[in-house]
């Protein structure tokens, strides 16, 4: 991470792996603390005739929880993932097709919706689908003393009075998805919305690092990337 956040904002270490699944068109795993999510994307592929849309491609999502049978909560996550995909993927570019998104939660320890969205964005980029913008998910929990805590663990979420998840895009810096539960005032909500944007900027920096790491393995791109000396990226001379 770049480390430009305000002192009051702390997030857990974030790491990613890209192109981990051989059979998918795009895949990614993102870990934030003990929360880990893997996303695989197939598409554009053929679609069942009953679901076909002549104007745009259909997005099918499946979310699988870390343990046990499918829970009703997974259906809500599926809806959330599909809504975000529809906002950013240029669906009109592939009419009469379908994009399949499978989200597998590997371990769950808070901020799971944000981790899902981050893994989803990396997987969509890895799949090379045309997108309007990138997006980053940020979770935060409001404690009883009205303080905000970003990237909470499951325990911190349990103790909090309100939980927010925002997804920001990076072309106009707008918010494209909000999931907020618990009790909060309008002022508290707006404050969380504005402050969380800083964390999103940090996540976009992390995306860049992840992709530089991936592309460095490819001879085609090595010339375009700044050289690494002793593991550090040199700044370009002015």
């Amino acid at each position: 991470m770049l480390g430009t956040l305000e002192n009051s904002i702390r997030v857990r270490p974030i790491s990613s792996e890209l192109s981990i699944l051989g059979n998918c068109d795009g895949s990614a795993r993102v870990k934030q603390g003990n929360s880990s999510v893997m996303v695989g994307i197939w598409g554009p592929v053929e679609v069942k005739q009953s679901k076909e849309d002549p104007e745009k491609c259909v997005i099918e999502t499946t979310v699988k929880g870390a343990t046990g049978q499918g829970s009703p909560l997974d259906k809500m996550y599926e809806e959330a993932v599909r809504q975000t995909c529809e906002q950013v993927v240029i669906t009109s570019a592939h009419p009469r097709t379908c994009i399949q998104v499978i989200v597998q939660v590997e371990s769950e320890d808070g901020a799971i919706l944000a981790v899902m969205k981050n893994a989803l964005c990396l997987a969509l980029m890895d799949a090379g689908l045309p997108m309007r913008s990138m997006f980053a998910g940020v979770s935060c929990a409001q404690q009883e003393n009205e303080e905000l805590m970003w990237d909470p663990t499951a325990e911190e979420e349990e103790e909090s009075t309100a939980q927010y998840t925002f997804v920001y895009e990076n072309s106009r810096n707008n918010v494209i998805y909000v999931h907020c539960t618990g009790e909060s005032t309008v002022e508290q909500y707006m404050l969380a919305l504005q402050k969380s944007r800083q964390v999103a900027t940090e996540v976009f920096g992390f995306y860049r690092e992840s992709f530089e790491k991936l592309l460095r393995k490819d001879v085609k791109f090595q010339m375009l990337l700044p050289p690494i000396i002793k593991g550090e990226i040199l700044e370009e001379p002015e």
């Binding site: 259906k75 809806e79 906002q87 918010v175 494209i176 909000v178 005032t185």
Partner: protein, 269 residues
């Protein structure tokens, strides 16, 4: 001719109307459909309400039964919301297993009603028997904005729920409903009201009809309670902060109108 145009190019059709600051069904841009609330619509339920948003019609019914509490919470009852979108309410729903939209909506209702009442109040015999309230919300006709109607129906039903008196049989220890005893009203800590705005191009249109829902680029649903606190918010639209704060102002205004309607019907019933 107009119908052909609407089916072939629904977005252009909508834009033609919006250009003149009016919506296809004759409403102003910030206008809402007429809301009707009818409480105690189902006589066999402990509490019920029917809500109409224009042609959208939703019934909420609350049925109580005795259940065993969990070991961790021996004195807490249960509130189990269930949203049913039958295939007869709109052609987009298929017969068979519950629709994903319905499951997702049940989840939203569930997050909304946690903490709505003190679950300890639902205790009958500590550690043995508690009330389990099934909150069934059935959509009769889906003409858009079902979630708002469902939340309003559920709030109105919960606000008019009376629990019957109970007595314990001394010999067997069985719990029975006492039809002669005095009923007790279910006390609510807050009353949630949901307001949905549909986003089309750069406009936010409240209370979308089904045609508007089909072509929207996203929607914002905000739930505000009677103490004007935000209880939940689900948004899937590309919005700037200014638009969000403007939407919140509108939502608060609209929620207070709906709340006064709800209070009026609760009093007269």
């Amino acid at each position: 001719m107009a119908d052909d145009f609407k089916i072939a190019q629904p977005k252009q059709y909508q834009r033609l109307f919006l250009k003149d600051e009016i919506r296809p069904d004759g409403r102003a841009l910030t206008g809402c459909r007429e809301v009707k609330i009818h409480v105690n619509a189902v006589s066999s339920a402990l509490g019920s309400a029917m809500v109409c948003y224009g042609n959208t019609r939703v019934i909420a019914g609350i049925k109580g039964r005795f259940a065993e509490p969990t070991i961790n919470n021996p004195n807490s009852g249960y509130l189990i919301p269930n949203m049913i979108l039958p295939m007869t309410c709109n052609t987009k729903y298929r017969p068979g297993y519950p629709d994903d939209a319905g499951v997702a909506m049940s989840n939203k209702l569930n997050t909304l009603i946690t903490d709505i009442t003190d679950l300890m109040e639902l205790c009958v015999v500590p550690g043995k028997v508690v009330w389990s309230l099934n909150l069934d919300v059935v959509c009769i006709n889906d003409d858009g904005n079902v979630l708002d109607a469902a939340v309003l129906a559920l709030s109105a039903a919960l606000n008019n729920t009376w629990l019957p008196a109970t007595r314990v049989m001394e010999e067997t220890g069985r719990v029975l409903v006492d039809p002669e005893g005095e009923r007790s009203r279910l006390e609510l800590k807050f009353i949630p009201i949901a307001v949905t705005l549909s986003v089309f191009d750069d406009k936010t249109l409240p209370d979308p009809s089904e045609d508007e829902e089909n072509i929207q680029s996203g929607s914002v649903t905000c739930c505000i309670d009677d103490q004007s606190k935000i209880r939940a918010m689900w948004s899937s639209a590309n919005l700037s902060d200014d638009v969000i704060s403007a939407a919140l102002v509108y939502v608060q205004k609209r929620a207070s109108v709906l709340l006064s309607v709800l209070r009026k019907v609760s009093k007269t019933s």
